[in-house]
């Protein structure tokens, strides 16, 4: 059965014709062509499909498409403002925090959500915030360094 889902994605109003069985992940990737959000496990274990729904990080594979009716969704495609990288993205580049890149979208969204609610996180708080995002390439050290540096950059930008 098909349904029309009306919601906001990356600040733009969208209407998508979806199968009622579609998850938010399928809605984004298959119906809207927003393929920056990745599918690594489809059961909420790997965090690759992390997006923000009304500001909260969620695994898009665990939410039905119909559930985001009227919600505001932020995906990786909407994190950078036009051509300016978000400090988290810039820092991941600078510190070598992305290798194969498959987990990176989810890491970016988890980090963006963290820094919104906690602008000066400790190392442990950073590690806790990305504990639901499995990265198999980096060993996390360079990701943690990058998020720490991004927090400082964001603080400085505010001053």
């Amino acid at each position: 059965m098909k349904t029309v889902v009306t919601f906001e994605v990356n600040g733009e109003p969208r209407e998508a014709l979806a199968d009622t069985r579609d998850t938010l992940l399928e809605l984004l990737r298959d119906r809207l062509g927003l393929t920056g959000t990745k599918e690594g496990c489809s059961n909420g274990n790997c965090g690759s499909c992390t997006v923000l729904v009304d500001g909260e990080p969620v695994c898009a594979c665990l939410v039905f498409g119909g559930e985001v009716e009227g919600a505001k969704v932020l995906t990786i495609e909407g994190v950078a403002a036009s051509n300016t990288m978000h400090p988290v993205q810039a820092a991941l580049i600078k510190y070598g925090g992305t290798q194969c890149g498959f987990c990176t979208s989810g890491i970016v969204l988890s980090a963006v959500a963290l820094l919104r609610r906690n602008p000066q996180p400790t190392d442990h708080e950073i590690r806790h915030a990305i504990a639901g995002n499995i990265c198999r390439c980096t060993g996390y050290g360079k990701i943690v360094e990058a998020i720490k540096a991004a927090a400082v950059d964001l603080q400085e930008a505010r001053l």
Binding site: G40, N45, V79, I93, K94, G96, C100, F102, G139, K142
Partner: protein, 758 residues
């Protein structure tokens, strides 16, 4: 350029990846992200049994379902006999192995082996169609470990296969694939006169490479039958060759386009879904995309890394000089025989000089999924046994474990286990650096719970094989590099650094791309720690070739002779007083239409860049829960020369992370009937950010002679010592020698309880 001692401007610098921007913005394209006009969905039906005879497959109902466009079984593919050798790396490969990995024929060797596949207009219809395929099986007993499969009365999984490497004097175990022996001196005599012996018997569980991107591809056949295949693979040409052979197509009729690879680690060399996608696309005349689910990846859709049972015994004299090493390495190949044991046996003994060696390796076929390579295949398992045995020896002799190793480490020119002299190797430098480093000198910080420090060495041979690159010069004078190898580890970045160095330009002025199999020269897979080294050689050669052609043009423009020109930083100059000059921009703008500049580089059989390193680790063990916390981890590695230290550290940190996973929590749990009981990433517990410490890397640079830039292999060695160093640290913390891997909390608690009972 490549041999001078002049300081380098781009190579060796901590530069960000040239493709990092695409990755952090979600724009990097993996095959699952690709769409094509008319694209349809392919899905695979898999065996629910670990060992069975396929009695019949009825696809009638599935084919009749509206929206189903094609259904295939093994009968839609040519029969590939065992021994169908295809060009592949150093020794070739048997296409029969790839064929059985892609689709089962007549018999099933593991649960999750493909049985049939469908193409349908959407994923829901495809899933419904799979349920409509009726397969009748005659279920056979499943043999889920080495012991069961090698038991005297075990059923033969491949009755027609003759085990290799056995003679009349040795009875082959049931389901043995092969036997290899490395032998020198007289081990029995050496043990008889040894003062001390360190020994261990280990059991290692099957684990998975754990790449986050499931296998995926898109296949399309045009009206002439020409096939285009977009893939996530470690080797575009290897995908082309396997797919061509498995489908009975000519190589020249398939173009493989490698897209981004979301992790591979050895598991994306063999084809899995690609030939099926092509066959479905050929039948239905539409592009077909297949993406595996996580459950498929874990449960037999892709090969895990081999389980093993490894026994090692080391003898030494009173001074701690090693006199004998004996090892028996039994590897679980999964459903198809052929896990190679030679390299891993050598690797485990290679760090040490020892006159008497007897290393014997077997592989046993079981009803687990066919195993595949995983980062230094077999290295971590073998070192788990060998390096813990060395530690046992140190305890027996009451010698500091670093001091014991320093008395025995291999040096340049000493004999490798196979009997040939070691090429340049920096093990003694590594030992000196450890001795001087705080991670070894400073005492371990005291804590409430028992703590201990471990040390383990590692070695990996790596390989060279062949790599090709070519360079064209754009109309603005900038070099454009096309590589025949795929980039799974930052190769575009390091090769951009090499090309920039060769041309004396900034990294932003060069462009490096992965070619497809119809636009680049044949290159072997990105595997065996070979691409950085051999592609650097190919790119360097291609750049110099292009510069030679540019020099001829510049000489004509400047009315000079080629000999009289100097070149630096993008400018040719005549050497005499008041001479002219021309930069690459002006040179190309004025000569572009005189013909293309194409520089060619091929690296074949480059000298090996053997990898050596050692890890030091402090752990805390909670005796109540068995929980192991890694407090500090330092990885020392001789990298020859780091083309880009950030990339090198990334490889080391990632290796350590994977190694710690297998060391502590990652192990496949198979039921007796072949079901995998921890097929999700929740239950198959890979390390999260909360499980790992900051990993410190110490890079040592002992360049390899006769290799451009002196580069060594980097990416496999650093997983080799990880489980052993943790085992050694646990032993020092709680006095228990762990012999099972992973060293899970329950196993540690079990060992502690057993020790208390004694």
């Amino acid at each position: 350029m490549t041999t001078t001692e002049a300081p380098m401007k781009v190579v060796g610098k901590r530069l960000p990846r040239v493709d990092a921007g695409e990755r952090v913005t979600g724009r990097a394209t993996y095959p699952a992200d690709l769409t094509r006009p008319g694209l349809v969905v392919g899905r695979i039906k898999r065996s629910p049994h670990a060992h069975a005879r396929i009695v019949s497959i009825d696809t009638t109902k599935a084919s009749a379902l509206k929206g189903v466009l094609a259904v295939v079984t093994a009968s839609d593919f040519p029969v590939i006999e065992p021994g169908t050798i295809i060009p592949f790396g150093e020794t070739g490969a048997d296409a029969w192995v790839s064929a059985l990995t892609v689709i089962a024929r007549d018999r099933v060797m593991w649960r999750g082996q493909p049985i049939a596949a469908v193409a349908a207009t959407d994923a829901y219809i495809a899933a419904a169609a799979l349920d409509l395929i009726d397969v009748a099986y005659e279920v056979l007993p499943a043999m889920m470990d080495i012991e069961a499969a090698s038991a005297r009365d075990a059923l033969l999984i491949h009755p027609a296969m003759k085990p290799k490497g056995f003679d009349a004097s040795i009875l082959a175990p049931r389901n043995a694939g092969g036997r290899t022996v490395i032998e020198r001196g007289d081990v029995a005599a050496a043990f008889a006169s040894a003062t001390a012996i360190g020994a261990i018997k280990t059991v290692i569980d099957t684990a998975h490479q754990g790449y986050i991107e499931p296998h995926a591809c898109v296949a399309e056949a045009d009206a002439t039958g020409f096939v285009t295949l977009w893939v996530s693979t470690q080797g575009a040409f290897q995908t082309e060759i396997q797919t061509a052979v498995l489908l009975g197509l000519s190589h020249s009729k398939i173009k493989v386009i490698p897209l981004e690879v979301g992790g591979a680690f050895g598991g994306k060399i063999t084809v899995h879904v690609e030939p099926i996608a092509v066959r479905l696309a050929q039948i239905c005349g539409r592009p077909v995309k297949i993406v595996m689910s996580r459950d498929e990846v874990m449960s037999g859709g892709s090969g895990p890394a081999a389980a093993a049972r490894i026994d090692v015994r080391i003898g030494a004299d009173a001074e701690g000089k090693l006199t004998a090493i004996e090892g028996r390495y039994v590897f679980d190949s999964g459903g198809i025989p052929g896990t190679p044991t030679t390299l891993l046996m050598q690797a485990s003994a290679a760090p040490y000089q020892c006159a008497n060696l007897y290393l014997e390796g077997f592989d046993i076929t079981t009803n687990k999924p066919r195993t595949e390579a995983y980062r230094g295949p077999g290295g971590i398992q073998a070192a788990f046994a060998m390096e813990q045995a060395v530690d046992e020896l140190a305890l027996t002799l009451d010698i500091d474990p670093l001091a014991l190793r320093r008395r025995n480490l291999a040096v340049t020119g000493s004999l490798m286990p196979i009997g040939t002299p070691f090429p340049s190797i920096g093990l003694t430098t590594i030992a000196e650096r450890i001795a001087a480093h705080a991670c070894w000198r400073e005492p371990i910080e005291p804590g409430r719970l028992p703590r201990g420090r471990g040390l383990a060495f590692g070695y990996w041979r790596g390989t060279s094989m062949t790599s090709a690159a070519h360079v064209t010069i754009a109309g603005d004078g900038r070099p454009m590099v096309t590589m025949g190898s795929v980039d799974i580890s930052g190769t575009r970045t390091t090769m951009a650094q090499v090309a920039a160095e060769e041309f004396g330009l900034a990294i932003d002025d060069v462009h490096v791309a992965m070619g497809d199999t119809k636009s680049a020269g044949y290159s072997d897979a990105a595997a065996g720690s070979r691409v950085g080294r051999t592609m650097a050689a190919a790119v360097s050669q291609a750049c110099q070739d292009a510069l030679g052609q540019l020099r001829v043009r510049a000489a004509a423009k400047l009315q000079s002779s080629t000999d009289a020109l100097t070149y630096a930083s993008g400018v040719f100059r005549t050497s005499g007083h008041g001479g002219g000059s021309i930069n690459l921009f002006d040179l190309m703008r004025s000569t572009l239409t005189e013909g293309a500049i194409v520089g060619r580089g091929v690296s074949t059989k480059l000298p090996l860049g053997v990898e050596a390193g050692a890890h030091v680790c402090d752990v805390e063990v909670d005796p109540e829960t068995g929980q192991v916390t890694i407090l500090r981890y330092t990885a020392f590695q001789d990298v020859g020369r780091a083309l880009n230290p950030v990339a090198v550290e990334g490889q080391i940190e990632g290796s350590v992370s994977q190694g710690l996973g297998w060391a502590l929590t990652e192990g496949f749990d198979y039921a007796a009937d072949g079901r995998l009981r921890n097929a999700s990433l929740l239950d198959y517990r890979m390390p999260t950010a909360l499980d790992l410490p900051q990993i410190d890397c110490v890079l040592i640079e002992t360049p390899v002679p006769d290799v451009p830039y002196g580069v060594r292999g980097v990416a496999e060695m650093p997983i080799v010592p990880v489980a052993a160093v943790v085992g050694n640290a646990i032993r020092r913390a709680i006095g228990i020698r762990m012999t099972q891997m992973p060293m899970t909390p329950e196993r540690i608690v079990g060992e502690l309880k057993a020790a208390r009972r004694c």
